[in-house]
Symmetry: C2
Subunit: 342 residues, 2 copies
């Protein structure tokens, strides 16, 4: 790892950085000549060419074809992100704008999620994804049973922290609202503050109806398959304009990744607050080839957390993306902690 760093001389690092910057900006292969035009290198183009050949040898750059300029490889981007980027932060005026928007919004998770995805998409010109925070071990706060029709009951379950889940329940025999209230009261006193495990390991004498309700409650507490509605997306239109997605395969890959964002799971392993960068679908996420993702978990460690991030071409402005994702994740973490913690 450390010897890898030492492999690159300062000049090689400068060249790699310039190539990444230029290619990210223009999507055109970068020639040796154009690099000396930046004034950052006081050597001739021939020297740059030699260095580029070395960098290619080492796997940081490639050639689309013989007479073309250089393009960073995934490994090149990786090195850039790890060693050449430094600690980037969003400009303070942008931070203020974003913070202000969040304070304007209504006190509601879905609003914040939507806002977060919009902000990320605008700030990075990539597609943004935000999943709802999931409570690690949900605890019952309050159960309500509402009769809607003769044989139908609406079950509303509020968790500690304020998440609300609902489900319909079909009755074999009709019950009136007072009977429902009775059952709800009983279950509320029995299970106030309980988690699923507690409920399951403390069997209680229950009527048939009550145990049916408890089954439904447990199901709502498990519920690890987040509904489609719990993922907010934004910026697909914009990122589809990037040149890597004009081809059918490129667009398909992107849309697929966005519709079934399994790669978000790679953020689940990480700590809340740390930003992960997946470049070109390194490792497992093959469907991300030619795409990069910048992800973070947000929320309160051990209590409730969700995932957010951006998805774009490997040719991504990593500095902006990382700082934006970090900032929005921190903001969302604060909101979750304000709302949910006790």
């Amino acid at each position: 790892m450390t010897d890898q760093e030492l492999e690159l001389t300062p000049r090689q690092q400068t060249i790699l950085r310039l190539v990444v910057h230029s290619y990210v900006a223009t999507a055109q292969p970068v020639s040796s000549k154009s690099l000396i035009g930046t004034g950052m290198l006081n050597v001739s183009s021939a020297t740059v060419r030699n260095e580029m050949a070395v960098l290619e040898e080492m796997g940081y750059l490639t050639h689309p074809h013989t007479s073309a300029g250089r393009v960073p490889t995934d490994k090149g981007y990786r090195y850039f992100v790890e060693h050449l980027l430094g600690d980037v932060e969003l400009p303070s005026d942008e931070r203020n704008t974003i913070r202000h928007q969040f304070h304007q919004a209504k006190l509601e998770m879905s609003q914040w999620m939507q806002l977060a995805s919009a902000v990320l998409a605008r700030a990075t010109r990539s597609a943004a994804l935000v999943t709802a925070p999931r409570i690690e071990t949900p605890r019952v706060r309050q159960l309500t049973l509402i009769s809607t029709q003769a044989h139908l009951v609406l079950l509303v379950l509020v968790f500690q922290g304020g998440t609300v889940r609902q489900r319909m329940l079909m009755l074999r025999e009709p019950m009136d609202q007072t009977a429902l209230n009775q059952a709800a009261n009983r279950l509320n006193t029995l299970y106030a503050g309980a988690d699923a495990h507690t409920i399951q390991t403390h069997p209680v004498e229950l009527t048939e109806f009550e145990s049916e309700v408890v089954d439904l409650m447990l199901e709502l507490m498990r519920d690890d398959a987040p509904a489609q509605s719990e993922v907010y997306r934004d910026g697909l239109t914009e990122v589809l304009q990037e040149p890597e997605f004009v081809t059918q395969e490129g667009a398909r890959a992107l849309v697929n990744a966005l519709e079934q964002p399994e790669f978000l799971n790679s953020a689940l392993g990480a700590r809340v607050g740390t930003v992960q960068v997946v470049i070109g679908g390194e490792g497992r996420w093959r469907e991300l080839s030619a795409c990069s993702a910048v992800l973070a978990r947000y929320g309160v460690e051990g209590f409730a957390s969700g995932t957010l991030g951006v998805l774009g071409p490997t040719r991504m402005p990593y500095g902006r993306a990382i700082s934006a994702v970090r900032y929005v994740a921190d903001l969302m973490s604060d909101l979750v902690s304000d709302l949910y913690s006790r």
Copy 2:
């Protein structure tokens, strides 16, 4: 209108139908020769050419270029849908499969919506959209106030029919749960079964906190901007493969239309149960150029209704699309009526 019908001789109708069928199937301009190959026409290709020229004259067909076959115009599709399609129905085995899937699903609107979009997308090979049913005049069923933190209150509002809405409320001064219960009880007895108008036109002496809650309730009852989460989508990936969307503009148009589906409003004017066909963005919906939509309102007229439909290229299998949309809309209407009606 009727003279328009009479304008087309039976043979011209046959030719138009064959052109539409062939073009829908292959996406290739249809030549006079290929039409006589179907055996549906006992005339020579020259005669077909003459008829095609007439149909083009009348605006039902076009030419991509001189030496190419014919392609239906929007007007041609329109005529096809109105006069040549007849009453189509989904094959009964497919209907059974779909019905079965709906009965398997849990008793929950969001599940049904997701299922409906999935079914529509699979059945039509187009993109499917389903919006949540909106209650026309929501009436309060039950209000619950739950203290989550010192200064934060979760307001859960259940409407008659079983829709649940929630919002956080920030307090100036802390209140404990019993005080909240008191307020909730008072408001529940005051406003049980009331709609927004009744609440607003019957002023009552309220504490500062209570009137703040009422304001929030009214806001939740208005809430005409459906959240992003209330639209279910499916099948984007598949429809993006259609040849009309391989170009960047085509894909962009489709994705735009899908992300901001204002065209769904055109279904709002129609009666529940009738299927609308919008071809090539006729009329207002310019952003739909080269796209067609098949839409229907579902739900219970005058009480609660939503919109569903499919979006695809103008070269769409209208028969399948119309029958699938109609069938799924009827199914969803039944579910809404079972669940929500009283």
